[in-house]
């Protein structure tokens, strides 16, 4: 590169472009109504922080729960309004100066995230499961997260009836990040959204009331690995920026497709350098695959799922996956379709090891939360199969799967919160023996969720699995379907094992009790079951929705 070729930014303005008229600085146009869902959630989150500061301790819980529910519901209403207004289809466009895409997938995923979160928040607010401490109802979260476990200060906090009502604003912040994540239309927004939804999650992981050491360990692992992965993501972004000279999806896609013919010869070395593109692309994929929990970036999943407070696990498992797959879809379909020949084989491999790895390792798990974590890994593999289809059908099938899966997950973890013994939740599988005898209804509900995970027909899991496999087969990935089917068979083994344990084993004398939850958790579970069955029996409406929504705007 010659010295003349390198311009200083300062000289560039006056030098090269001096002939052209100076562009006027245009004020950014922000379409506030179209961003309303995000704005509502963020706004209420901020209010939530203020509530922590100003509202008396006794009223905080109710205020926060109320605010959170209202915020999520209002945001969902906004999403529905936008969708009804045609922003998902005909009026789909890039908003906020190119930062955010308002289109079908965005709205569908935002709707899914909001609904899932709404349902999950009910489990956050549940205060009937643990026995009351010092006359106060307690939830799943530590009285005072800052106090050392087992210390006097913790006891004092419990005695004083402290509660960590901060979890509600944290959830809202996280949700806001998730809403932006799949909508992000440039890499910077992607990165910021990632951090916005991740950081609150790290904290949420750390604030369990019981088994606090594990909770903190989960948080630290999640945090370090998450930060590590986002560093990769960021470096990938840097490389892509170097490759295309822009972080906007559309601009990068143009360069990838070779649509940009006029390349400044001075920049020829970097711009359009395929090595930058490929390495950068791979590193961004790393970041996203970490979030979806694909092998070999999955190893945080079991530990974090196990250690985090179960309501958080449910929320995280469902919503994070939705958001991350949304972003992955957009990246692969909007930015890198021209590169499909390069990333498809790699993703094939990832999908295969993810499906098989998740299913195989799950076989020998003994903790229900870890089991579900591995199950989520296997499911990530199934969804990847749909992602790889690279057809419109692929998009809509993934959207549908995400919708179906997230409700099952939230429901399943909600059931996990119910089974308790003296040490809190009894997550070891041996303690679940004979649950079907003791509480047939709870066991039956959990069995429904497990069957949905296993993809048994007449549950949403089957519809979803069928949709992605069909898309994959249609998209020429028949091999993936076969592997998917095999790993489904393996996976069936451990779902069935749990069912066997619940129904066919004799209950143990010192077995756990099933707590009777408040209407909050009941709602969560009921919604989970209802969605599972409706999507299993009559999925057509939702499939229509997904296929209408399955078009990305560029």
């Amino acid at each position: 590169m010659s010295a003349t070729a390198v311009h200083s930014l300062w000289t560039m303005a006056g030098g090269v472009t001096s002939a052209a008229p100076v562009e006027k600085f245009k004020a950014p146009v922000i379409e506030y109504t179209q961003l309303a869902p995000v704005l509502i959630v963020i706004g209420v989150a901020v209010v939530g922080v203020l509530v922590e500061a100003f509202v008396p301790r006794r009223a905080r819980y109710y205020t926060q729960v109320f605010l959170t529910v209202v915020a999520l519901a209002a945001a969902f209403a906004a999403v529905v309004g936008l969708a009804a207004g045609g922003y998902g289809t005909t009026k789909a466009h890039i908003a906020a100066m190119g930062a955010v895409a308002i289109d079908g997938p965005t709205l569908f995923l935002q709707g899914t995230i909001l609904l899932t979160s709404l349902v999950a928040v009910f489990t956050f607010a549940e205060r009937r499961l643990d026995p009351a401490a010092h006359g106060n109802h307690v939830d799943s979260f530590a009285a005072q997260a800052a106090s050392v476990p087992g210390s006097d200060s913790e006891k004092a906090a419990v005695k004083a009836g402290f509660t960590t009502t901060e979890v509600f604003p944290l959830v809202l912040f996280s949700v806001a990040g998730m809403l932006v994540f799949p909508a992000a239309n440039d890499l910077l927004t992607l990165f910021v959204a990632l951090e916005v939804f991740s950081l609150p999650l790290y904290l949420l992981c750390a604030v369990a009331r019981r088994k606090r050491l594990m909770s903190q360990e989960a948080a630290v692992k999640y945090f370090l690995l998450g930060a590590f992965s986002s560093a990769f993501l960021l470096f990938g972004i840097a490389l892509l920026y170097g490759y295309a000279g822009s972080v906007s999806y559309a601009a990068i896609a143009d360069v990838v497709d070779g649509a940009v013919t006029k390349i400044d010869p001075a920049l020829a070395d970097t711009m359009g350098n395929d090595a930058l593109l490929l390495i950068g692309g791979a590193m961004i994929l790393t970041g996203l695959l970490f979030k979806v929990g694909a092998v070999p970036f999955h190893m945080w999943t079991p530990d974090v799922y196990q250690g985090a407070p179960t309501p958080v696990t449910g929320f995280m498992a469902a919503a994070t996956k939705v958001a991350a797959f949304g972003a992955l879809l957009r990246l692969l379909y909007v930015v890198l379709p021209g590169l499909a020949w390069d990333w498809r084989p790699v993703m094939w491999a990832v999908a295969i090891v993810t499906m098989l790895g998740g299913a195989i390792v799950a076989i020998t798990q003994t903790d229900i939360k870890r089991l579900l974590a591995y199950s989520s890994i296997a499911h990530a593999g199934f969804i990847l199969a749909g992602v790889i289809a690279t057809t419109p059908d692929g998009i809509s099938s993934v959207l549908f799967y995400l919708g179906a899966y997230s409700f099952v997950t939230v429901g399943a973890f909600a059931v996990v919160t119910l089974v308790r013994d003296a040490g809190g939740e009894a997550t070891h599988l041996s303690k679940w023996a004979g649950l079907g005898r003791r509480s047939p209804l709870v066991a039956a509900v959990f069995a429904v969720f497990l069957l949905a995970f296993a993809g048994i027909p007449l549950t949403s899991g089957f519809s979803g699995k069928f949709a992605v496999f069909k898309a994959a087969a249609d998209g020429g990935a028949g091999g993936l379907v076969v592997v998917g089917v095999i790993s489904s068979a393996i996976a069936a083994f451990f779902y069935i094992r749990v069912i066997v344990l619940m129904f066919f084993s004799e209950p143990k004398a010192d077995g756990p009790t099933v707590a009777v939850p408040s209407p909050l958790t009941m709602t969560t579970i009921a919604v989970g079951v209802a969605v599972t069955l409706v999507l299993g029996l009559a999925p057509q409406y939702f499939l229509d929705l997904a296929s209408q929504a399955g078009v990305f705007v560029r």
């Binding site: 007449l458 089957f462 089917v485 066919f504």
Partner: protein
């Protein structure tokens, strides 16, 4: 719009299942009666369907068609041909007997907490299975069928694992472990089969773009659908594998003895007489119809497997020490005959196979249920624990013998008709296969008579002393079945008339003609 008879026939037991499950814990008897009434009402509906079915009419009759999952190319399409309506009627017929035979099988041993309602669950699950099986016989949409094919595993699984035979040897824990092993084995085998079929189902959609049998047939007829040879074969194998597991065909059979051994006798009947028929039915309905070329391509191997099943199942039946496992292996042998008949691809073979499905259902039900009554009395499944029952309970022994004779296909009883048709059909296409299969009739006599001799004849064993003969409820189960066996053995014409046209359709699907007799061929 006419009354959706087929839907109603399937929906009624489903409603019954829900109603039965909802009966309060203490009203156990109410639940039983409710289940029985619903199953009888279903039988009435199935009878109406049978009566309305015109043998000479369209291929699929009483059809219903509604949009269901457009995105998957799936319609809720029902319709029955002669084969479907016959098997549907069989299912509806057997369930009341199953319920009646299992009257006390799910009574709780001791009063547990009020929420535990095994009795209600037992009968509700049976009705659920009935609903799914009936609907699967009616489905003319591959996807709809597939869904039911898989979904029926779940209630079956709970029936096997949750309500084991109380007659067992060894400790309770051991029995529970064996039972859940059997249930898991049943489910996993069938689930693996089903999942492999799922891959093929998806492949079919990719190739055909629809799941409707009629649309596929139409597309094939007007040439807009043509499958590459390789594709067709892979898809065929995917479907066939699932059906072969369900049927079960050697070497995919090992789940059946476990499942039938550990389940209560009525549930064992449900497995072998009803649920497994879905597998053989599907071979006839889907494998041959969807993949005629591949079916012909695979015929030699399948015939060999079927022959192995026949001989192997029979030999293993001879070697069993457990009454129910013996019957299970006998069933494996019989399923070999059915599959042989289907893939012989002659009119006689396929008519025989269809009749065989019906007759085997009835005969196994008779034998297994009587065996169940016997086992309940003595509390043991081991053949060696019996002896001389004939002396103390002659009616039980007599009905057991008749069930056994039906199993060994004695002329005059229904199974003979079907077995002979299968043999003739197989022989005319593959003489060697026909001859090998014929050895099955000797082996059948061996295992049946050995079983009868060891349990019923000889000096009366001390434990058998004072054994009660069949009670009214039990007679109500057995006698109608025996009457039916006799009737269909002497006068199977009503059944063959229904079945024949359907078989001719299948034969034309695979474009096969019966081999001509040598004398006529020479002319």
């Amino acid at each position: 719009m006419s009354f959706p008879l087929l839907t109603a026939t399937a929906a009624l037991p489903a409603i019954g299942a829900v109603a039965t499950a909802a009966v309060p814990a203490a009203r156990r008897t109410t639940a039983k009666w409710l289940a029985l009434v619903f199953s009888l009402a279903t039988l009435v509906l199935a009878g109406i369907a049978l009566a309305r079915f015109e043998p000479g009419g369209d291929r699929y009759q009483l059809t219903e068609s509604h949009a269901w999952i457009k995105d998957f190319g799936v319609r809720y399409e029902l319709g029955v041909d002669g084969i479907g309506v016959a098997l549907m009627a069989l299912t509806a017929l057997l369930i009341p007997f199953v319920i009646l035979a299992g009257w006390h099988d799910a009574d709780p041993l001791e009063t547990k907490s009020s929420r535990w309602r095994p009795t209600q669950g037992f009968f509700a699950l049976i009705l659920m299975v009935e609903a799914m099986v009936i609907l699967s016989f009616e489905a003319t949409d591959v996807f709809l069928f597939y869904i039911l094919f898989e979904a029926m595993l779940i209630p079956m699984y709970f029936l096997i694992g949750g309500f084991g035979d109380r007659a067992h040897t060894g400790s309770d824990e051991n029995a529970a472990a064996q039972r859940s092993y059997a249930a898991v084995k049943f489910l996993l085998y069938n689930l693996v089969g089903g999942l492999i079929m799922l891959a093929a189902v998806i492949g079919l959609y990719v190739v055909a773009g629809t799941f409707s049998l009629s649309e596929i047939a139409e597309a094939r007829a007007n040439g807009s659908l043509s499958m590459a040879t390789g594709t067709e074969r892979w898809l065929f194998l995917g479907f066939f594998f699932a059906f072969a597991v369900k049927a079960p065909l050697w070497p995919l059979h090992t789940w059946l003895p476990n499942a039938m051994g550990e389940a209560t006798s009525p549930v064992a009947v449900l497995i072998t007489a009803v649920v497994d028929k879905v597998g053989t039915f599907a071979m006839l309905r889907f494998c041959l119809q969807l993949f005629p070329e591949a079916s012909k391509w695979a015929t030699p191997v399948i015939i060999v497997l079927a022959l192995i099943s026949i001989v192997y199942g029979a030999l293993l039946a001879v070697g069993q020490r457990d009454i129910k496992r013996l019957i299970a292996y006998a069933s494996i042998s019989h399923f070999g005959f059915i599959i042989l008949g289907i893939f012989a691809m002659t009119s006689q073979g396929q008519s025989g196979a269809t009749l065989y499905m019906v007759n085997h259902g009835i005969s196994t039900a008779a034998l297994m249920l009587v065996a169940g009554f016997l086992i309940t009395r003595r509390g043991s499944r081991l053949i060696a624990d019996y002896g001389g029952v004939q002396k103390v309970a002659p009616i039980l022994a007599g009905t057991f013998l008749i069930g056994g004779l039906a199993t060994l296909s004695l002329p005059g009883l229904a199974p003979f008709v079907s077995e002979f048709l299968v043999l003739v059909g197989a022989f005319s296409a593959y003489p060697a296969a026909g001859i090998i299969a014929t050895t099955g009739i000797v082996l059948a006599a061996l295992y049946v008579l050995v079983l009868y001799q060891r349990t019923m004849t000889g000096p009366v064993k001390a434990e058998v002393q004072g054994m009660a003969d069949l009670k009214v409820r039990e007679l109500a189960v057995v006698l109608p079945l025996i009457a039916l066996l006799l009737f269909l053995g002497v006068y199977p014409k009503p059944l063959t008339e229904i079945v024949n046209p359907a078989v001719q359709h299948t034969m034309s699907d695979v474009q096969k003609k019966d081999p001509q007799p040598e004398v006529e061929a020479a002319k």
